[in-house]
Amino acid sequence: MRKASLRSSQMLLASALVFANMSSALLAESAPGVFRSEFLKGNLGWADVTAKARTEGNVNFYYWGGSDLINLWVDQVAVPELAAEGIKLNPVRITATKDTVDVVIAQLAAGRGEEQGSVDLVWVNGENFFSLQQQNALWGAFANRLPNSVNFEWDEADARSLLNLRDFGVATEFQEMPFSGEQYVCSVNRAYVSTDQTPATFAELKTYLEANPGKFTYVKPPHYLGNTFVQSVLYAHNPDGTGAEPYQKTFEDLGSAELARLIEPGFDYLKSIEPLLLGGPSGQTRYPESSGELDNMFLNSQVHFNCKFGVFANHTGLITGAYPEQAEEMIFPRGNMIKNKNYLAIPLNSPNPAAALVAINYFSSVDSQASRLKTAGMPVGLDVWRLNQSDKDLIEASAPPHYGITQQELDDNTAPDTNASLVDVIEATWLAVIERKEDKPIADIVAQVSGELNN
């Protein structure tokens, strides 16, 4: 009861504020939620936002802190540059984004609503964004209202806008802003594999493994890197030859029987290469649990290939000593190198929403993205064709080098991600077919796991 009356009084206050057309200075002192509703209604100018941001002063940025390069860039570039705009960026390094998502959801469940949380900004994509959206834990549709949104393609008529409008097939509804655009790229150790031997298709990979058993493995699903490998296998083995196309639909639209028909050849391939993967020849196939573990296997020559999301992973691996000296990139699997974006989102209970907006606007600027590309090897999230020539040149000049391939080849071989509702079913199918070795027709397994997921 008390909560309900509190909310209605807030709404009264909000409408009173609209009528009175209060200044932003007063807005900064006003009840929680007023800034949000006013901003989302379009009643505030950017100057109002920056003014409120300066009174808030802080922004708590939760991000995966496993990369020294990204940490250095955040501390040495982003923190001082935002300080110049009057905002103190507090970078909080986390090991798993899901933990932060859980904290936000737990806070909301415990009654810590608008402006009463602890997270202002979180680096997310895929399932984590989906959970926040499902739990109504997002701040609102802000992404197209920032000055730097001009750097992104939002027009649905342009197919390239999909990477900004869909996150693993889930509509972003402007509740998150693209941060970086990544692609699933494999590296090869040239100390063992010559250019002629380098596979470009899954069939060629199998041929290579028959001659060199045990020299490949992929990160184990349900890790997103493992899921991505499986998805690219499924695209390439699509019995209709339509690649990624049917995988853009939701599970409901596609149906269990149709999905089973589409994935069967891909899973046959995965089963057939299992004895040829790392440890397979001795009967104990090993799937690493994380990309760090796979990096180590690659460095120690246990495997000759290393696949992960990382357009410049080969470069950063070489400058940090994490990759073997002769590591080079390769185009594999041809035409099916999955590309997606990751994003910045504001939780509903962000205590400093205006500062979060200013920070996101900063992270979306050409200068910030170019310096991050240069020092941290993190690809830009903005859409280069939206920029003027001098900005385009700046981005191009900031890009770290490629090894053995060109950016053009990477761009020519992209494929989209799989719809988030299918990802769950496919990963559960992988666990049933590959890990538990269930000997049932694939249609039965898909029907069974999708039934379990829905309950």
């Binding site: 390094r93 986390i94 933990d99 737990a106 990309s291 460095l299």
Partner: protein, 284 residues
């Protein structure tokens, strides 16, 4: 060395070969884990099957665009300074609070008899039997409600859970070993309560108190899961920093460097308390 009034230590060669072997094995198991850490912390690229790194940190230092290995560990970006300060601060606060709670409790448990005492002793150890993760998740919900999640106070309170059982047990044993005679004498001779405590009891039990504090401090500075849950990643300590570094599944040079730093407080403290307890006049 000269000050030591103990009996002359025996020559290593004088002990029998089996004992010698066991001592060597013990030394190996104690020191061996540190050797690869030290090497890794100085490496740039160290791959199997090379016994030593193929490229060392110092060779790459001038060439690399970013601070590597110890340069990164000692840069402000590594957060090592902040984590060390937090770890020590929380450890000291936990130790003092734990002592304040446990001294009277242990005295009662050691010197008086009451109904339900053995059950109580059992209950006190119970938190040690519960998995840390279970305590952490259950408490997180409560602490969020109380506004203690992500605060120093919250982390210190939660560190008391696994440390109090140890401290109570140790202090109970110390009190039991001394009996109450000396205190009774002092009281008969007219000493006040505080005089009895500070001039008679405390000096008697001091080695036990120091050992208990050392243990509490070491447990607190090594707690990862509880710190991680209740600190919500906002309060970083050396264990949470180290975990973040190695959770990727690989230990690189900076990870190894942070691991070595994380083991320093314990080593330094162990060294000093060991010397203190050895030279304490009332030590038995």
């Amino acid at each position: 060395m000269k000050l030591k009034g103990h009996t002359q230590p025996r020559d290593f060669k004088a002990i029998n070969p089996w004992q010698r072997l066991l001592v060597l094995a013990m030394v190996t198991f104690t020191i061996a884990p540190f050797a690869p850490l030290v090497i890794q912390s100085l490496a740039f690229r160290w791959a199997w099957p090379n016994i030593l790194p193929t490229v060392w940190w110092h060779e790459q230092r001038g060439l690399s665009p970013l601070p590597l290995a110890w340069d990164y560990v000692f840069s402000s970006s590594s957060r090592v300074a902040e984590a060390t300060a937090n770890t020590l601060g929380i450890g000291i606060a936990v130790t003092l609070l734990c002592l304040v709670v446990c001294l009277p409790a242990a005295r009662v448990l050691a010197q008086s008899n009451f109904r339900g005492k053995s059950q109580l002793e059992f209950l006190i150890v119970l938190p040690l039997l519960l998995p840390e993760a279970a305590i952490g998740i259950a408490l997180l919900m409560i602490f969020i409600g109380l506004g203690l999640a992500g605060t120093y106070v919250g982390v210190i309170i939660v560190h008391l859970i696994p440390t109090i059982p140890y401290m109570v047990r140790m202090l109970t044993a110390v009190y039991q070993g001394h009996g109450t005679e000396a205190e009774d004498h002092a009281r008969v001779l007219g000493a006040s309560r505080s005089q009895v405590f500070f001039q008679v009891t405390l000096p008697m039990i001091l080695p036990g108190v120091i050992a208990g504090c050392l243990f509490t401090f070491l447990v607190s500075t090594n707690l990862f899961l509880l710190t991680f849950f209740i600190g919500q990643g906002e309060i970083i300590t050396l264990p949470t920093l180290l975990f973040a570094k190695i959770s990727g599944g690989a230990l690189n040079a900076t990870g190894a460097g942070i691991a070595l730093i994380a083991s320093l407080p314990g080593i330094i403290l162990l060294f000093f308390t060991d010397r203190f307890i050895r030279s304490y006049p009332l030590a038995t």
